[in-house]
């Protein structure tokens, strides 16, 4: 402590001066979600000026619904990507969870809540396996979860066909406990005379929770660290494997939640549901500022990325365009957002010198 003196005093003043010069602009630009916010504003302005329905409260409730179900997944996938991993099985797992729920409740007479609990156990097991295989073998998660993706796809179809002879299970509305479960997970609530899907509340709540975890908890610090450089993180005592396994299981829980919401809403589940969605989750997270290489990103950004998708999905319908254009739009948004994010990050880094 003896040397605490002189040196510190001399550096204090100039340090503050330079801090002021670096400025508010850089602080703002360095946020990962900036690209997504600008993108969302542009997309909203575009559809809102052309379609009065789109900007009405009913319209907003309408396009917030796909944004919400996608957003719940995108937020979980964003956490996983910040932690440096991918999960290609997340989309199919929504289907698996829904199928477990409906099959157990309709074919085996289980109460809806018990069937949901069973679905959760299955989802957690898949997440645990993904996480264990990735952390134990050090194989790229892209390959590992591509494997589980294909296996789940096969199981979904095979088991459903074996049990029902068709490719869907249905009739959930007759099961015990359906009404309450549907109200909580698949219902609507009326705000100011407009019905909003309850999924929107779940989505907002989970985005807030994920952001809090990332920014304000020790776990959040660890997530950024294992994604940024897991060896360095391990060297200072971060349990990198546990963090990654936890993230895979979090993604699995999100898939279970979304799968159950969909099953309760439509009372039936197609065996091929969720296939192809995994990339949309990743795209929403990337538009929201997540780096493919990990260690950087934001949960709010991913949620806003999902809003862009919701707006485009419904906006194209409102304008009476062919829905095929949605895919074109997707690709364009992805490219623009990634380019914008990269430019912003470069600019932010230049300002420092």
């Amino acid at each position: 402590m003896a040397w605490r003196g002189g040196f510190a005093v001399t550096v204090a003043a100039p340090a503050d001066e330079r801090l002021a010069r670096a400025g508010v602009l850089r602080r703002l630009l360095i946020r990962p979600e900036l690209g997504a916010v600008v993108g969302a504003l542009v997309v909203f302005a575009f559809f809102a000026t052309q379609s009065p329905v789109f900007r009405s409260v009913d319209g907003v409730a309408n396009w917030l619904d796909p944004a919400a179900t996608l957003g719940i997944m995108a937020v979980a996938v964003a956490l996983l990507m910040i932690g440096g991993e991918f999960d290609l099985s997340a989309g199919v797992l929504t289907g698996t969870s829904g199928l477990v729920l409906v099959t157990l409740a309709t074919r085996y007479g289980l109460n809806v809540w018990l069937a949901m609990a069973a679905g959760l156990v299955v989802a957690l097991a898949v997440g645990l396996v993904n996480g264990l295989v990735v952390t134990r073998t050090r194989l790229p998660s892209f390959i590992v979860t591509l494997g589980t993706f294909l296996m789940l796809q096969g199981v979904n179809l095979g088991v459903t066909k074996a049990l029902t002879g068709t490719v869907q299970v249905s009739g959930l509305a007759r099961a015990d406990g359906y009404e309450v479960a549907r109200a909580i997970f698949g219902g609507t609530i009326v705000i100011g005379g407009t019905p909003f899907r309850v999924a929107i509340l779940w989505w907002i709540g989970l985005t807030v929770l994920a952001t809090w975890v990332l920014m304000r908890t020790r776990a959040g610090n660890w997530i950024f660290a294992v994604g940024g450089n897991d060896q360095a993180a391990r060297a200072v005592g971060v349990p990198a494997a546990r963090v990654k396994i936890g993230l895979f299981m979090t993604t699995a829980v999100a898939a279970w939640l979304v799968g159950s919401m969909m099953a309760l809403r439509y009372t039936s589940v197609q065996a091929n549901i969720g296939i192809g969605q995994e990339f949309i989750y990743i795209i929403a997270a990337v538009i929201g500022g997540c780096l493919l290489t990990g260690g950087y990103g934001s949960a709010i950004g991913a949620a806003i990325g999902a809003v862009i998708f919701g707006m485009a999905d419904k906006g194209i319908v409102f304008l009476g365009w062919d829905a095929d254009w949605f895919k074109f739009f997707l690709g364009a948004m992805l490219l623009l957002a990634t380019l914008a994010n990269r430019l912003v990050r470069r600019y932010a880094e230049q300002v420092r010198h």
């Binding site: 402590m1 003896a2 040397w3 605490r4 040196f7 510190a8 550096v11 204090a12 100039p14 340090a15 330079r18 801090l19 670096a22 602080r27 920014m215 304000r216 908890t217 020790r218 776990a219 959040g220 610090n221 660890w222 950024f224 660290a225 940024g228 450089n229 060896q231 360095a232 993180a233 391990r234 060297a235 200072v236 005592g237 971060v238 780096l291 260690g295 950087y296 880094e349 420092r352």
Partner: protein
């Protein structure tokens, strides 16, 4: 705390990476580990920091034979290691890096962000480290600044033994000087410092003891008064070889 190894060794399969190395690290002193590439320096520090387990000899902490199972255990015992290339996580801010793995917590597992920012700023200033903004990503710091932050971090987190893996090797002359200054500061704070380097010119001004390694064996441990810089350089590089090289180059 006194760290000591007695005839410590480690082999990987049929490769004897380290054989019969004895060294001592005392509080308030700097022990330099010198050696060329492949001399076994990194194997030695990986044993000291709990990454590898030694398979012969004894590792003593305060005279008690110890076997470290993990870097975490070493940290808990007060042995902090700053690895050359993985000292910091580039995309994370200075203050997040500063507390990584030892986050100050409030109730409910909340990371006390305000305290972390404030303490990081204060501690860096106290070490005389001139960082303009603790919110800036570590990737925007220079190599010397990164090493310095990592040293300040280990000092703040209560390390008693600080192991530095080639902290100056990738740095220019001026930056290396900055890092050497912080090594001296850490020593003044009463830490036992293990300073690994292949540069005797960096080691000699700050070191109190010098351990020389060559091809996995110790060439001896010397106190500063027992050895001069010239001797150290000669021993380290294999003096005869250097003279031979000089002769060859001159004749061309």
């Amino acid at each position: 705390m006194i760290l000591e190894t007695r005839e410590i060794g480690k082999s990987f399969g049929s490769v004897l990476a380290l054989r019969g190395v004895s060294m001592r690290v005392e509080p308030g002193s700097v022990t330099c580990v010198l050696g060329d590439n492949g001399a076994g320096k990194s194997t030695l520090i990986k044993i000291l920091s709990g990454v590898h387990r030694h398979d012969s000899g004894e590792y003593l902490l305060d005279g008690v034979p110890t076997v470290l199972d993990s870097p975490r255990q070493a940290l808990d015992l007060g042995i902090a290691t700053v690895f050359q290339d993985l000292a910091m996580i580039p995309l994370m801010s200075v203050w997040r890096n500063f507390f990584l793995g030892s986050e100050p917590r409030r109730s409910l597992g909340r990371f006390d962000v305000a305290a972390a920012r404030r303490i990081a700023r204060e501690e860096l200033r106290a070490m005389g480290i001139d960082i303009r903004d603790v919110d800036q990503p570590v990737g925007t710091l220079s190599g010397g600044e990164r090493q310095s932050v990592a040293i300040a971090r280990a000092v703040y987190l209560g390390a008693k033994i600080l192991i530095l893996d080639e902290p100056t090797s990738a740095l220019g002359v001026k930056q290396a000087g900055v890092v050497l200054r912080y090594i001296v500061r850490a020593r003044q704070r009463g830490l036992g410092v293990v300073f690994i380097t292949h540069n005797p010119h960096h080691a000699y001004p700050v070191g109190d003891r010098f351990l020389l390694l060559n091809r996995g064996v110790s060439l001896g441990e010397y106190a500063k008064e027992e050895i001069a810089l010239q001797e150290l350089t000669t021993l380290m590089a294999g003096g005869a070889e250097l003279e031979q090289l000089e002769h060859e180059l001159r004749s061309q």
